[in-house]
Symmetry: C2
Amino acid sequence: LERFRSLSPAEFFYRNKEIAGFSNPARALYQSIRELVENALDATDSYGILPVIKVSIDSGVIPDKPEVYLISVEDNGIGIPPDNIPQAFAQLLYSSKYVLRQTRGMFGIGVKMAVLYSQITTGKPVEVLSSTINSSRIYMFRLSIDIKSNKPVIHHKASFKKSNDWHGTIVKLFIEGDWNRAKSKVYEYFKRTAIIAPYATIILKDPTDNVVYFKRSTTLMPRPPKEVKPHPHGVDIELLKMLISNTTTTTLKEFLMEEFQGIGEVTSKTIIELLKLDPNKDPKGLSNDEIELLAKVLKEFNNFKPPRPDSLSYLGEEIIKIGLESILKPEFVAANTRKPGVYEGHAFIVEVGLAYGGNIPPSEEPLLLRFANKIPLLYDERSDVSWKVVNQNIDWSLYEVEKPAPLAVLVHICSTKIPYKGVGKESIADVPEIENEIEKGVREVARELKSYIVRKRKEREEVEK
Amino acid sequence: LERFRSLSPAEFFYRNKEIAGFSNPARALYQSIRELVENALDATDSYGILPVIKVSIDSGVIPDKPEVYLISVEDNGIGIPPDNIPQAFAQLLYSSKYVLRQTRGMFGIGVKMAVLYSQITTGKPVEVLSSTINSSRIYMFRLSIDIKSNKPVIHHKASFKKSNDWHGTIVKLFIEGDWNRAKSKVYEYFKRTAIIAPYATIILKDPTDNVVYFKRSTTLMPRPPKEVKPHPHGVDIELLKMLISNTTTTTLKEFLMEEFQGIGEVTSKTIIELLKLDPNKDPKGLSNDEIELLAKVLKEFNNFKPPRPDSLSYLGEEIIKIGLESILKPEFVAANTRKPGVYEGHAFIVEVGLAYGGNIPPSEEPLLLRFANKIPLLYDERSDVSWKVVNQNIDWSLYEVEKPAPLAVLVHICSTKIPYKGVGKESIADVPEIENEIEKGVREVARELKSYIVRKRKEREEVEK
Ligand SMILES: Nc1ncnc2c1ncn2[C@@H]1O[C@H](COP(=O)(O)OP(=O)(O)OP(=O)(O)O)[C@@H](O)[C@H]1O
Ligand SMILES: Nc1ncnc2c1ncn2[C@@H]1O[C@H](COP(=O)(O)OP(=O)(O)OP(=O)(O)O)[C@@H](O)[C@H]1O
Ligand SMILES: [Mg+2]
Ligand SMILES: [Mg+2]
């Protein structure tokens, strides 16, 4: 006889933590550090604050448990209001990033997985200190997750008056990890973060007390991405029902103009006429059949303005070239930032960079540096759409590249929704619109490389005469 | 200012459906079919019932929507009690498989994703008919998911008296799909299911009304897997707390013997002495520090019996060879079923098969046939642990195999918990214990291939003299 039961989201992710990247102690240590750092960067650069992030990893913090590390991450970001702190850190599927704007976070799972893993391997609560920009107080919480109910357990809370105008967040948690196995990936993660967020200053102290100061190389920050309304091409029956039930508009004409981007008054009227509906009808009065038809028409209509790219924040070709030069010391660099594209109503921008020669060691496959919404992706390379493009769609010999070659390719995808293959954010699905843009971008920089190689070869031949 | 909100599990999977394999219409059609078929197979072979499964895919079922298909899957399984049907089909994270026993299902998500996708692309409810073995009635429901609350919406329900002793389940749902793009993968899925479950009869009618009758090739069924208790090596602080809060035992000595497998009376006393605790203490009276210490001792103690493999159901070398012969028509086959292993307290068995020559077309990489708990895995091959072993850990030239080679390798992993990388069940994480067993199994059958190749070469040389 089958025994039926339901799981809370916390129980589900507790039982299936490898799906979130927590598959072994080394991987868990890496994932915990990156989840905290990505939250810290979101809390700063989404608000035009030049990030200063202090990461400290201590070992030997628990007498007879050498494999337990204390991870501490401090940022100068916007902080978290005290009423939101317990759920933000101890309730799965709770987030401030469930909106249409480019951020690193998107699932409402990241920090909770670190807290969960900490709890099950060490039994210790997470400690959070935070103060928002206009607040006069700093709030402190020690929290753990009640797994069965997916609710926070507050072990301790306190607040004290601020003596200066510090704002930001400090997160401390104990994690069973494996620094020796995680070390090279952790360092690689910070090095690549320095490429993709050159305006961020990050100070990293590792368990051997080695301190690395990733000093910002620029104070120029891209403008923060704006929150936008859904684009009608991203609509489906359920989204439409949710928009209708939440809307404060009272006519269909207003509803279309208000709840979507890209629909002006003329377009709104056109759509409504196509459906033979009354523009003054209350959207909450639409029948299921009418909603279904409206979804179909919105998806297929071809005259909307394309999705607004101000929900996105890309790097630009200059920053990409500077970043590649600083870490790879190549003899040649090229970059291509593509025009905005759309998939399922989400705007996206693909950026590609290429570096060749110099200090890059020759290899059979190009060194692939993948990024999504300014997050470095280091694992699951071979199931990522960029790997497929760079190693399967492109024939490098057509660009005068002989293997093994001293070649590196950077791919950065920005979107209001990155189509990750998993909640651990390591590889990206091969959505056709995105794959096409990556390929075009790679061919663009590959052509520039070809001109360079051909020119260099001619110069050598001249010299040899 | 950041806007915080929480999502229900249904909202989360609605927003992130590509994480469950629903990334485009072709993939969604494939995934919906397989989720229903995997449920049908679990409902039969877990109970010793010879499966008869009828799969019907109809197109043109909605007048102006050629891309909408009606999928219908009928099985002769144990059926679902009427009280459980609404939640089983319309509440995310609801399942009867959250127990320690080998089944295809494990997440409590599969059929709900198909229902969700059906709902958002067609607005139509799922229809379920079911009757359990001893019931005199068949129950019918039409259901959809209230996404905001993650609760079923019952559009219609009915029941009627059974006129015969039919038992089983029929699921019907409308899906927006792409049969042309999905077709080859769908057929491949059924062909491989025929290898791994040769006792199952499956009748498939596709949208062109082509009917394929996968007739069972044997009535021999492996004994159904048994549900087991957790093994102490799989313990962590939270699992221990849950077992303690649910236990009906009243002494620590009983608790250890009752709630775990592999702990007899002597071992229970030994563990308790190591902890300097009183064997008659009520487990519910343990302090957090005592629980933490107990978890540590249980994880590190080396004298438990290994996990019981009767929670598993593997194929065996005969069935693997028969399966490979029937679909590949090779000149040589070999198979190796490994002894049970353990990872994180879960028992697992790895089985490897190899086929060479005959009708197998030569290729650079071996044709890789992956299975987990009798499910064929067709996507994300290159991020799977088996691909890594077969293409990176093994040097085939050491086994007299010259590339391109007419070579196929089958890997089947059985476990009470398959470490999938994602909830779409397509690739498996490289857990070291499992990777080692796969490698040993592949080397075993590769050695047999080498002997065969060498022997054949000698025979040819004899003939040529
Ligand atoms: N350092 C921080 N500064 C400000 N807010 C933070 C910080 N860390 C976490 N938060 C808040 O807590 C919320 C939950 O964080 P969490 O990492 O679990 O989810 P997320 O970042 O929204 O999504 P993801 O699961 O993709 O990381 C965030 O949305 C943010 O509002
Ligand atoms: N054809 C069927 N016959 C009997 N029971 C079924 C059938 N289909 C679904 N069920 C029941 O409904 C439950 C939910 O199915 P669902 O596919 O959502 O989850 P699961 O199979 O348990 O796990 P997974 O997400 O890994 O597939 C199953 O656990 C099973 O109890
Ligand atoms: Mg986060
Ligand atoms: Mg299932």
